[in-house]
């Protein structure tokens, strides 16, 4: 179990130190500083020194460290806990970095106190925590009124700890965002080494009472779950309404009744109030890759390297990609890159960024089906050391967002809301395809 939690900045100064069990002293922070922060190369996030184990994650410019001693600690739990702490911090004060931590250390101690007791993680759900761990002290007095407090505690420990029963909205609305992160790794020969999509269904629910929701996708196995009703704004008519998608794996928010999903693939849940990630999914089948990059990089002479990079948008014409950034690595001994000035209209801008050792090519908008070229020549400084290892050619990476398009072809078929009062719900659906790890080797 977790004996202590520390937060360090990159210099190794302690920002937060909270001991939960008597088996560690504050001085273990020095151990971590010496053996991990100042150590040149860390080969593992798990560091065991004597009988003390340190589990650390890095976030922004801080280290979050869970410490345990003398016990066969559950390691994934320690890491999930650290990640969870970061997420809570972000929800409470926007960012979890050194400045934010320094400004909010009292709040962090309060949160830590609440989510970890004697090293055992407790309620860590933002929705219920925010009811009694509040940013403003004034509100904490309100929450302290006995009547409210017992409601809070019942909710925090209850079967639906994420929802208060007495929520009321004049207009009942649900916003669904399907965000797909597309991961692609292409080999030098142009074959797909790895392609998958990790999608997140984010839901913003503004619903009164305690509604029970049922959610349906055009997923192959989920087809039997219910006939399509009330789906909103379905995109991608090019696939036809009947297209079904194979999903490799689902992960659900804790509000989803897993016991019901397993036998008949029904996604049924009582939503928390406000924004939450309903589910995450992963799929590898039948993907349409939004972009293809064909790089031809030839070495003309030891000091000149020629780049011919073609980018093709493969999604249908009616969609547009925005924020397209292509990073084309250049050797570390590059002096200048020539020929970046001459671009056709609408083909964006490219420049050589020496600090990152790459050409950064930015295109604000690309229509579906469009094709663009970049021709450039890198001038290299002559290498003195002839025995030097050849340049390792890091892959070309890409960032983009395509609105209303899903790489997997996934669509929301229905979201049914059942509530005692039987109110009407307005539902909105948006789709985004984003680049995750989108890389091309060359």
């Amino acid at each position: 179990m977790i004996s202590a939690v520390f937060v360090f900045n990159y210099k190794g100064e302690v920002l937060i130190s909270r001991l939960f069990r008597p088996d560690v002293r504050r001085s273990v922070a020095d151990l971590f500083r010496i053996h991990v922060i100042t150590a040149p190369q860390i080969r593992s996030p798990v560091t065991v020194l004597g009988n003390i184990a340190f589990f650390h994650i890095k976030h922004e410019n801080v280290y979050i460290v869970a410490v345990s001693t003398h016990s066969n600690t559950n390691v994934p739990l320690a890491f999930e806990f650290c990640t969870n702490l970061v997420k809570l911090g972000e929800k409470y004060f926007g960012k979890f970095d050194e400045d934010a931590i320094k400004n909010n250390f009292v709040l962090i101690y309060e949160i830590l106190d609440e989510i970890l007791d004697f090293g055992l993680p407790q309620v860590s759900d933002y929705e219920s925590l925010k009811l009694y761990v509040t940013t403003e002290s004034v509100r904490s007095e309100n929450a302290a009124a006995p009547g409210d407090a017992s409601k809070v505690t019942i909710q925090a420990t209850g079967a639906t700890s994420w929802r208060r029963p007495d929520i009321k909205y004049r207009k009942n609305e649900v916003f669904i965002d399907v965000i797909e992160d597309v991961n692609l790794l292409m080999s030098t020969k142009g074959t797909v080494l790895n392609a998958d999509v990790t999608g997140t269904v984010k839901v913003k629910a503004y619903l009164s009472g305690v509604p029970e929701c049922k959610f349906g996708l055009n997923e192959r196995l989920g087809e039997g779950a219910g006939a399509g009703a009330g789906g909103a704004g379905a995109p991608q008519s090019q696939y036809g309404a009947k297209r079904l998608v194979d999903i490799d794996d689902f992960q659900f928010h804790q509000c989803v009744k897993l016991g019901r999903f397993d036998p008949d693939r029904t996604i049924s849940f009582i939503p928390p109030d406000g924004e939450f990630d309903l589910m995450k999914y992963r799929t590898t089948e039948g993907l349409t890759m939004p972009f293809m990059v064909h790089p031809v990089v030839t070495s003309i002479s030891p000091t000149r390297l020629e780049y011919k990079v073609t980018v093709k948008a493969q999604f249908p014409q009616k969609y547009t990609a925005t924020g397209v950034v292509i990073k084309i690595p250049t050797p570390p001994n590059t002096v200048t890159v020539q020929g970046l000035g001459a671009f056709a209209q609408g083909h964006g801008k490219a420049k050589y960024v020496a600090s990152e050792n790459c050409i950064v090519w930015k295109v604000p908008r690309i229509m579906g089906g469009a094709e663009m070229d970049l021709n450039a020549e890198a001038e290299l400084a002559p290498s003195i050391d002839s025995n030097k290892k050849p340049w390792s050619r890091p892959p070309i990476s890409m960032a983009f967002t395509v609105a209303m398009f899903t790489t997997s072809g996934l669509q929301v078929r229905f979201l049914k809301v059942f509530e005692k009062s039987g109110y009407q719900t307005v539902k909105w659906v948006r789709y985004h395809a984003r680049a995750g790890n989108y890389q091309f080797r060359f």
């Binding site: 302690v14 939960f20 505690t153 890091p394």
Partner: protein, 941 residues
């Protein structure tokens, strides 16, 4: 306004002063901070008090001493402001230990708060009181705790449940006496799922406490149902607590196991990765319980199929979580190789993966490589070999070698790829490729000799000993094909003195091989032998002498040298079956991530009980003697490695696979921890074997093998293990007379649960005593038996059992015997004697069970029993690096536990066996894995 201006003016003046003066003027400000805080804390305004407390906490965080403000902070405790209260409590928790007298002042308001109408405040009070850890307030805590355990509010109850665990940690006995543990057990039937989860967590906490003697968390059918019911409804963390306790529970029958599996499978879709891993842990454990029941295969297939996707998804989480997942996947794959069979592509490394993730991905890739996907894998590996990170590149090249050795069809391509790499002439790439190619040569003798000239061209790039030794091996082995073999070796001979010992050894062997194939190189051999016999290094010198004598005696040297058997594929870092099933049962824990036996992660209960200071001493003792193997597995050895630290690391590095084979087992018998840790972990092992083991002795075989490992024993067990009775059956049949006259039955007895508690004197002091006993145990073999036998194990080192004895017998080990006298200095009669020998140079093993040759089966307190144990000499094994070759490590098991000592073998035996050993030993060659290489090569001869 005026004052502000005046102050600004003063500040302006101060800042314009010279630094020294300025420092003098302002230093009191820092010093007086506590004083200033004191004033603020006593302010009449609430906001100022609160700000002051915040500043106190801030100072506390950065490590400044603010304990002087204790009384002042305490005053702020009486407030309605929840936030202020929490801050004060935070302060109290930190300094309660330093000011126990003052904490008493706070008790009253805690007791009052525990009655507050607001459940949040009640919970806060109970939570904080448990953290104060001052002995004197425990008594005051009893009443509020009792009340809050029965509180109407679940939030208070769940907090109180944890508080019981806190209190137990402080005062175990009074916690039990006051019935708190019993109330905790009652909370398992609480209607609120989170209370149940916390009660489970607290009970597990108490169970794991080193001072707990009796089981507190007893899962039975009733409790099981409650846990399963709560599983669906509690928080993610609560689910983990419950899943962990399910993993430790052994179901009554197949039906129950199947039911649990059905209930746990849905957890695989949980968003929290640690829930997923905990669920997999339960599923894998329970699949074992299904055994051969009807439909078990279908269930297993279904579960395995459902397990793959969540595991893949875990790889897409944070790098740290990915690392943990990969470490666990490596274990899962060894148990269920079919889990991710079609998913190898997700383990391909991304360019921006952190190095620790890349290395683990490579490891998993190697486990999944098969003929179907080897092409894709090789293409990837070639890509990796071009990267910058040296360690990653080396591992990738090594992986290519693994592919070649594992899959014959791919060998050709691998060799081609390696040759391309060698042509890059990048030092570390060439060297690693050389080592890998040597292994490929050993796997497929005579197939790729065409490339040898290319390898020889790169001699100048090689500067690491391993690569140089590899090239020498290649040259020596193929001396008849290399025209200038003699010249190549001459280059090494000229710089003989500067070479590393591994290269020197390899050069010696290569020169002999070369001579046998090309007699014209005799002057070279002469030169090498002269250089080597003049060396200060005993290994090198002695080996040179052996060769020299062999050569001059005209014996069939050729037969010995030429018989280098091809190696077989053997996965790296393979866990032994026993350790594997132990780790599967502890999937996700630190032990699984480090892939070490649980006992090395969790201290033996007794060691902890002795208190903090002693602990640190133990740590010092354990660390040097537990010489880490390649997996970090400690070598089981009762002799501290410090005795001869120099050869140990070198040998460890050169024979990693042998170490894996022999000592990878859950060897919790390292050095000083041995006596204390061994009994518990042995029992663990027994518990970990599937329940059906009683029915089939065959299924017990892997367990047995492993237990050999536990004791560091290296007897060839494969043939005889079938005769061993199932471990589960032993406790019932355990009596010295009914045991079969078989060494393995003796081992079986070793496995029996130790009935009497081991004394706390079993740690480090015992070790020291054993070592001195061993030192004094060097004696002449001809000592008449009438004189008192030397003490092998002093009474205080052996938990009251004193062992005297020596080896007797003719001039060789086979007819010899070990005469032993056991004196019982304990208060209870000792019985069930059993003995085991560790691997030794002579391969000594008992030829009969100890119990069958003892004068009395049970040794009464104060009495002495004698035994003459006949010996057999088996295949000579590797000596442990930490033990001199003429020593034998012996383990004796009695009802009082297991004790270890070292006995020295008569010099005469060593000489007698020296000649015979050579003929029998080539068989050992097969044991080595691909990376055994040079270190083993010498032994073959």
């Amino acid at each position: 306004m005026a004052s502000v201006i005046a102050r600004a003016r003063i500040e302006g003046m101060v800042s314009s002063l010279p630094p020294k003066v300025k420092k003098f003027l302002t230093s009191h400000i820092r010093k007086g901070e506590n004083l200033e805080l004191k004033t603020e804390l006593n302010s009449e305004y609430r906001d100022r008090r609160k700000d002051a407390v915040k500043r106190v906490i801030a100072n506390m965080t950065v490590g400044k001493d603010v304990s002087g403000l204790f009384a002042d902070v305490l005053k702020c405790m009486q407030t309605d402001d929840l936030e202020l209260k929490k801050l004060v409590y935070l302060y109290l928790m930190n300094y309660a230990k330093t000011q126990p007298e003052l904490v008493i002042l706070a008790v009253n308001s805690f007791v009052k708060d525990a009655d507050d109408p607001n459940p949040l405040i009640r919970a806060l009070a109970v939570r904080t009181m448990g953290c104060l850890r001052a002995d004197r307030i425990v008594d005051y805590l009893m009443e509020p705790l009792r009340k809050t355990l029965k509180d109407t509010d679940p939030y208070v109850r769940k907090t109180a449940a944890i508080c019981v665990a806190k209190m137990y940690d402080l005062k175990p006995q009074s916690t039990i006496d006051n019935g708190f543990v019993a109330s905790l057990q009652d909370l398992l039937s609480d209607p609120n799922p989170m209370v149940v989860a916390n009660a489970v967590a607290a009970l597990r906490e108490i169970q794991d406490n080193p001072r707990t003697k009796s089981p507190v968390l007893v899962v039975n059918t009733v409790v099981l149902h409650k846990l399963l019911a709560a599983l669906n409804e509690c928080t993610e963390w609560g689910q983990i607590f419950i899943l962990e306790s399910l993993a430790d529970y052994a179901p009554n029958d197949v039906h129950e196991a199947r039911n649990v599996i059905e209930r746990v499978v849905p957890r695989l879709s949980h968003a929290n990765g640690s829930v997923v891993l905990a669920a997999i842990r339960v599923l894998l454990t329970y699949l074992d319980y299904l055994g051969n029941a009807e439909g078990a295969d279908q269930v297993a297939t279904m579960v395995v199929k459902k397990m793959s996707p969540p595991l893949v998804t875990l790889l897409a989480s944070t790098p740290e979580m990915t690392y943990v997942a990969l470490r666990n996947i490596s274990i899962i794959l060894q148990r269920r190789p079919d889990v991710l069979a079609n998913e190898i592509r997700v383990f391909f490394c991304k360019y921006n993966d952190p190095p620790y993730v890349k290395l683990e991905k490579l490891d998993v890739m190697m486990r999944l490589t098969s003929e179907r996907n080897v092409d894709a894998v090789l293409t990837e590996l070639k890509e990796y070999a071009n990267e910058v990170d040296v360690e990653f590149v080396r591992t990738a090249i090594r992986a290519m070698g693994t592919c070649a050795i594992k899959i014959e069809a791919a060998a050709e391509r691998c060799v081609g790829a390696l040759l391309d790499l060698i042509k890059t002439r990048v030092a570390h790439v060439v060297q690693e490729s050389m080592v890998v190619l040597k292994d490929i040569f050993r796997r497929y003798p005579g197939r790729y000799e065409g490339i040898i000239p290319i390898l020889c061209e790169h001699l100048d790039v090689l500067d690491e000993e391993e690569a140089r030794a590899a090239l020498l091996w290649i040259v020596g082995e193929h001396a008849d094909r290399i025209a200038n073999a003699g010249d190549l070796l001459q280059v090494f001979v000229d710089g003989f003195a500067d070479e590393h010992v591994a290269v020197q050894l390899q050069l010696l062997t290569a020169a002999i091989k070369c001579f046998l194939r090309r007699p014209e190189t005799q002057p070279l051999v002469q030169q090498v032998l002269q250089l080597a016999t003049a060396s200060d290094l005993p290994d090198l010198r002695d080996r040179a002498f052996v060769y020299w004598r062999l050569l001059s005696s005209g014996a069939a040297v050729r037969n010995v040298v030429a018989a280098c058997p091809p190696i077989e594929y053997e996965p790296a870092h393979q866990l032994s079956p026993g350790l594997l099933s132990e780790l599967v049962r502890h999937l996700g824990t630190l032990a699984a991530v480090k892939q070490q036996p649980v006992a090395t992660v969790v201290p033996a209960k007794e060691l902890v009980a002795r208190g903090d200071d002693d602990d640190e001493d133990d740590e010092v003792q354990i660390t040097p003697s537990a010489t880490a193997g390649p997996n970090g597995t400690p070598l089981p050895s009762p002799v501290p490695a410090r005795a001869n630290p120099a050869p140990a690391p070198a040998a460890t590095a050169s024979i990693p696979n042998l170490l894996d084979l022999d000592f990878d087992a859950p060897a919790p018998a390292p050095a000083s921890a041995s006596a204390a840790a061994a009994p518990t972990s042995l029992l663990d092992l027994l518990g970990s074997s599937p329940p059906q083991s009683a029915s089939a002795s065959a299924s017990a075989a892997p367990v047995n093998d492993d237990l050999m490992g536990v004791l560091g024993l290296g007897m060839p067990t494969s043939s005889s293990s079938t005769t061993a009775s199932a471990p589960r059956a032993i406790p019932t049949t355990m009596s010295s007379t009914s045991s079969p006259l078989d060494a393995l039955a003796g081992l079986g007895d070793l496995l029996g649960p130790t009935t009497s508690a081991t004394s706390p004197m079993s740690g480090a002091p015992g070790l020291a005593a054993a070592a001195t006993a061993a030192a004094s145990g060097t004696f002449a073999p001809a000592t008449a038996s009438s004189t008192p036998k030397p003490v092998l194990l002093a009474r205080d080192a052996g938990k009251g059992l004193e062992i005297r004895g020596h080896f007797t017998g003719p001039s060789s080990a086979s007819g010899g015997a070990l005469e032993l006298d056991f004196t019982n200095h304990t208060a209870t009669p000792l019985s069930d004697f059993a003995i085991q020998f560790n691997k030794s140079t002579l391969g000594l093993n008992p030829a009969a069970a100890l119990s069958s040759v003892m004068s009395t089966a049970t040794v009464a307190p104060g009495a002495t029993a004698s035994a003459r144990l006949p010996l057999a000499s088996g295949v000579a094994g590797m000596t442990q690096t930490t033990v001199p070759p003429d020593m034998v490590q012996v383990a004796v098991k009695t009802t009082a536990g297991i004790v270890y000592f070292v006995a020295s073998v008569p010099q005469g035996w060593m000489v007698a066996v020296g000649g015979a050993g050579a003929a029998g030993s080539p068989a050992v060659g097969n044991v080595g894995g691909p990376s055994v290489g040079g270190g083993l090569d010498g032994l073959l001869l």
